[in-house]
Every structure is written in C-alpha cells, then in structure tokens.
Amino acid sequence: MRARVLVVDDDPALAEMLGIVLRSEGFTPSFVADGERALAAFRETRPDMVLLDLMLPGMSGIDVCRAIRIESGVPIVMLTAKSDTVDVVLGLESGADDYVVKPFKPKELVARMRARLRRSEDTVPETLTLGPADAQIAIDVPGHAVTRNGNPIALTPLEFDLLVALARKPRQVFTREVLLEQVWGYRHAADTRLVNVHVQRLRAKVERDPERPEVVLTVRGVGYKAGTP
C-alpha cells in the first residue's frame, strides 16, 4: 500500500518537486499551499504522514501542527529553513516528530519519512508494564494501546515507540544518541534536542506529575531509563 503524504508548502516549485520525488519513491502525495486550508485538507485526505513547512501564509506551520496534533497522532515532519535552537524546539514542542533543514537532500528526506512510517509489524501478543506500582502504565504493543489503571492514554506513534523502547529494557539507561537511532532511525549522531522535547511531551501524557517523573526517568549526564515498580 502506498503511503499517502500531505505536503503543506506555499512554494509551488518546491511542492511540485517534492511531488516528483515522493511519487518516484512510492508515496502518494497531496498538496495544500496555505495554513488555513491545511486542516481541512488533512481531514479530507486522512494522510499517513504530513510534511509541513514552518513558514506559511495564513496560519503558521506551528499552529497547523498543533491543530493536527489535537485530532491525530499522524507523523509530522517539519521542513524548516531555520536551524536555530529556538525555531527547532518551538516546532518540536508544537507536536512535530522530526524536522529536516532546507536545503535537504531528497534521500535524507525520504529516509526520515520512512523511519516515521516504519511500523513494527509485531503480531506476537506483548504487554509491557512500567511506572510505579500504584499507577502502572500498561502497553499493549501490537494493539498500540497504552493504559494507566485501565484508563487509555492517547500517544502519537512516535511517543509510543519511545515509550516501548524504554519499557522493553527496563534496566537499561538509554543515551539520547541511542534513542535517536532506535526511535527516529538516525544512523549518525543527530540533534539531541529531538529527544529532549519528545521526552517532555511523553511525560506530559504518562506522568501523574511531569515535574516529578515516575515513568520516564532522567539519568543525569547519561540519558533516560524506564521507571520500574
């Protein structure tokens, strides 16, 4: 099945070029040129992935990102011309899973997209638990469902992958670089800000008090590990 990709970009030439590349790589792209109509187009096309330019006429990419994130956990990859920390972190905090900085190589973009679309094809029933005993988080891996004391928690696929990666090896401390490789699919050391921002987003959903995390613990100077009962 060809993955459907919604490209939100106001530059017609870049959009067309992206279309050519994406089609040749086996995606089915659809296009929208401004932020106002992006949400409507998203609801209409129900894409498997969104490529989102951060600077858009009408509604800014950040706002579009937030709006989509409210209704869906669909993977969002930002296209940004700015690599300054402020811009990147703002984009990630608004809900984007990953970003590529213009001018990017087509192969790089496709690799990022494939990494986001990759699904663990687990059919073996697997249930993981983590967190404190009185507020345990249960993960149904093939069912992509997370519950705390039976109450479902909605996670984006990326957040789910991050949580599963930590939960599968509860005693191991993961460095940010290892997480980048396992969850985002980066082969070389990349931007560790990705990990920091997404751990924060994940904590906001799974922790009782994100200020005092019990599920995703920080190991100072090293990285993160799962909180065990």
Binding site: L14, M17, V21, M55, A81, K82, K102, P106, K107
Partner: protein, 577 residues
Amino acid sequence: MAPTSPPWPSNWPRPLRIPERLRPAGRRAVAMVRAWGGRPVLMWRRSLQFRVVVTTLLVSATVVVALGVVLIDRIADGLVETKREQAIDEAEYGQSYALAQLQSLGGIADPDLADSLRRVVANLSARGARAGRFAVAIQTDTESNNRLSPLYVSPAEQSNVAIPRRLSALLDSRKLMAYQFVRTSIGDGPERPFLVVGAPVDTRAGEFQLYYLFPLDDEVAAVELVQNTLIAIGALLLFLLAAIVAILTRQVVSPVRMAARTAERLSAGLLEERMMVRGEDDLARLAHSFNQMAANLQRQIVQLEDLSRLQRRFTSDVSHELRTPLTTVRMAADVLHSSREDFSPAVARSAELLQTEVDRFETLLTDLLEISRYDGGFAVLEPEVTDVRVLVRRVIDGLVPLAERVGVGLQPDLPDEPVVAEVDARRVERILRNLVGNAVEHSEGKPVQVTLARGDEAIAVTVRDHGVGLKPGEAQVVFNRFWRADPSRARQTGGTGLGLSISLEDARLHGGWLQAWGEPGRGAQFRLTLPVRVTGRFTSSPLPLEPDDRPVEAYGDHFDGSGVDGVTVPDTGAGRA
C-alpha cells in the same frame, strides 16, 4: 626739649597673636573634615566644592588677618600717640612747675628740699585728672649719680617705683625730656604697662629728675577689646564666607554631579534618563544640552538596534528565501543526477556539474550566513569541556579521503594524555577542518603535519604544510574574505573563500588567536591558540608560530627547482641533436 624717638615697647600686646588664637578653630575644621569620612587630600582631589570652599577660606583668612593686623596697628598707634602727647604736655607742665618751685631752694643741703619735693610731687599728681591717673616721682640726682637716691613719689603708697635705668641714663646724658614704654609695677601691684616720661629739672639746688608714670591699662584694654572684636568678626566673616561659597558652589556643582550621575545611568543603558532643566541660566543650558545629547544618543542607539534587528531579520529572511528555491534546485539536480545514465554524455556531465555546484552553492550560502551572524553580533559560543585530541582526530579522519585523492600524507602529532579545554566543539572542528583542508590543498603532495600541545593557560594546534608558502605580507591578508593565494590555481576542495575569515571569528569568539606564518618555498603554518577555560586569558602559545625546520625544507625546495631546470636543458639539447 623735643621728645626723642621712643624705643618700641617690646612687650606691647601685638596683634600677631591672632593666629595663635585661631588655632583651635583650625583644628576643629580638620576634625570636621575627618569626621566627614574622607581624608582631606582625597576630598581635595575628589570634591570641587570642598576645594573651592577651602581655597576661599584660605585666601579670605589671609586677607582678614592682614586687615586685622593693620587695623589694630593703626588703632594702637593712635591711642599711644594721644597718650604720649598728653603725657608730654603734662610732663612739660610739671617740669616748668617743678623748676619754678625748686628755683628758690638753696642747694642739695637745703633743709626744705625734701618738703618742697614732696609738695611738688603731691601737687603734680593731684592734677591727674587731665591725662588720666598717673603717678609722679622725683629723683634727686646727686653728683654721685646714685640711682637709688631718695625718690619722692605721689601717691605715697606707690613709693616703690622702679624707674627704668635706660631712661634715667638717657636723661642724665642728654638733659632732655625722654619717655619709655615699660612694663613695671608700682608698689606691690602686678606688673603693668606704663608710659614713663622723664624730665630733667635743673635748679641751683641740684639736678632733679621728674618722672611721670602713666599706666596704660585703658589703652591695652581698648586695643584688646578691638582685637577681640576683630577676631570675632573675622571668624564670623570667614564662617559666613565659607557657608556662602559652599552654597554657591553647591548650586553649580550639584547640577554637574547630577549630570555625572545621569551620564553614568545613561551609559549603564538607561536611555530614558534625563536631567531636570530649571530656569534659563548656564546650568539650565548645560542640562538642556546634556538632554539633547542624550536624546541624540538614544536615537542613534535605537537606530543601530533597529538596524541590527533589521539585519537579523534580513539574515533570517535571506536564509528562508534562498533556501526554499535552493531545495527545489537541489532536488531537481538530484533527480537528474540519479538518472544520468539515460542521458547523452554531455547532458549527463551537465547533471553532475549541476549537482556539485549546487553543493558548492549551499556551502557558500551557509558560510555567508555564518559570517553575517558574526557581523550582526549574534554568534553565541556554546562551550563544553572537550578533549581536543578527539576533535583533531575526527577532522583528520574526515579529510583522509581528500588527502588520499591528492596524494598528501596527514601526520598528526598528538599528546598521549587528554588535552582538555573548554571549547565550542562545533566551531573548533570547523576551524581545524578549514586549516587542514587548506593545508592539504596547498601542500603540493608533501605531507601535512598537525601538532597539538597544551600549556597551563592555553592549548595550541599548528597545521604545517610544505607547499608554495606565503609571500611577505600575505600572512596578514589570508584571513580576508574571499582572499585567494593564487586565483588561477586549480581548486580541489571548492572552498568558498570565507573559510579562514569564519575560522578567525570562531577563534576570536573563544578569546583565542588564529595566526599564519609562511615563506615562499618553505610552506606555511597556521597556529590556533585557545584558552583552556572560556573566561581564561593567556599571554603565550604552547607552540611556536614559525617552525624551526628551515635547512631541510630549503634544501628540498631547491632540489625541486633545479630538477625542473635539469629536465628542460637536455630536452632542448635533444631537440637540436
């Protein structure tokens, strides 16, 4: 019988005693200054007000003292003169009276002598009303010239009178009326100042000396009163003057101080700070001008800030506006490049060129943006404690493919123990990549040495090549933007011409040095020196800028040159043969 010039009374209450009386006041002032907390010298240097007040006080005190001295002198002179005239009048009268009374006496042996003398003295002293109170004495001067001869004094209770010897001697020798100011006592009383007038009375009965003793108590009292009054008035005057001067200078100084405070606040960044303008005087004009200056400064600063903001915006916009089409171009080039097998050779080559040049364009754009970040002043150092050996190794590993392609050996010389320094790894790596890349490009096949060393305060990396080297003066200009050693040279790395400029800025951002050395034929060496700690300072680099390998290199280059000649000559010869 003109009066002889008077010997100045040695013990006259001289006005010069004033300074002594002022001393306590001076001590008080000094104590006051000390109490204000400043050493006077420091206050003198620091406070204009203090200086003006002190100067005014000193000058006016001198004037007041001088005036006082002159005034008291004049008053005292006047008083004494009056007294003297009265006294001499009185004495002349007494002389003629005594002469008349004693004329009839027969001689020294006359039995009436003593009585007559007593009577004369009594009558004369009874006249005391006119010249104030005085005592009269007659000394009978015998041939034996006995100074202690009977003395007739009136009032009688003041009989124990000491007539100054100098005066009686003067009278003796000159036979003229004379006077003297003395300090003596009458009877058992304390010593007081007197004006003693002596008049010779020559009779047939003998020579007598008539003395008038005028006490000068009143005059002394008068002068002292005047003197005290003058001191009091002078002191009050000085105090008032100091106060007035202090108030006046305060009026001038306080706006100046306010201006200084305002200027300090302005320079501290409080651009809204202004001075209060009151009235239309010079100080108001100062305040007005000051405010105008502050307003102008503020406008300029705001303008500059706007410009800086504008530049930042511009950089950001250029970044976005250029990057988006570049992305399209790049993707298009990539698509073309990946299917170049299907094209004719010319088109395929074009696709390849397009691909590489797009890469180069992107590098140039990135470099330009980096430079503009430095120009805009918003490049930020992100230091972390790093083992610089790791950076050097990473850079060398990254450049090995290029070095192999051009046939250049890379020879790192790294210490065995870690070389730890607080640096921005990304920037240091960029500097080193630039230096080593340049060295490889210019080394003409000879090895490139990279040496790392650590000192107490700084670390240093030198990158040495043995290529054409730098011409005199080029060591300074290599860091200029878009400067190229030889524009016609074939380029292998496709550098942007901004690399060394960015490296220099990177080094400066660390508070470090980036220097170049080179000589034609001896190659070039670049040295990067960085402080061990970000805030640290250093004065010398652990590695020398100029390498000490001269003989070997000179020989090698010479050999190369002669080799070329050696080939050329036989060639021509062979052609002829």
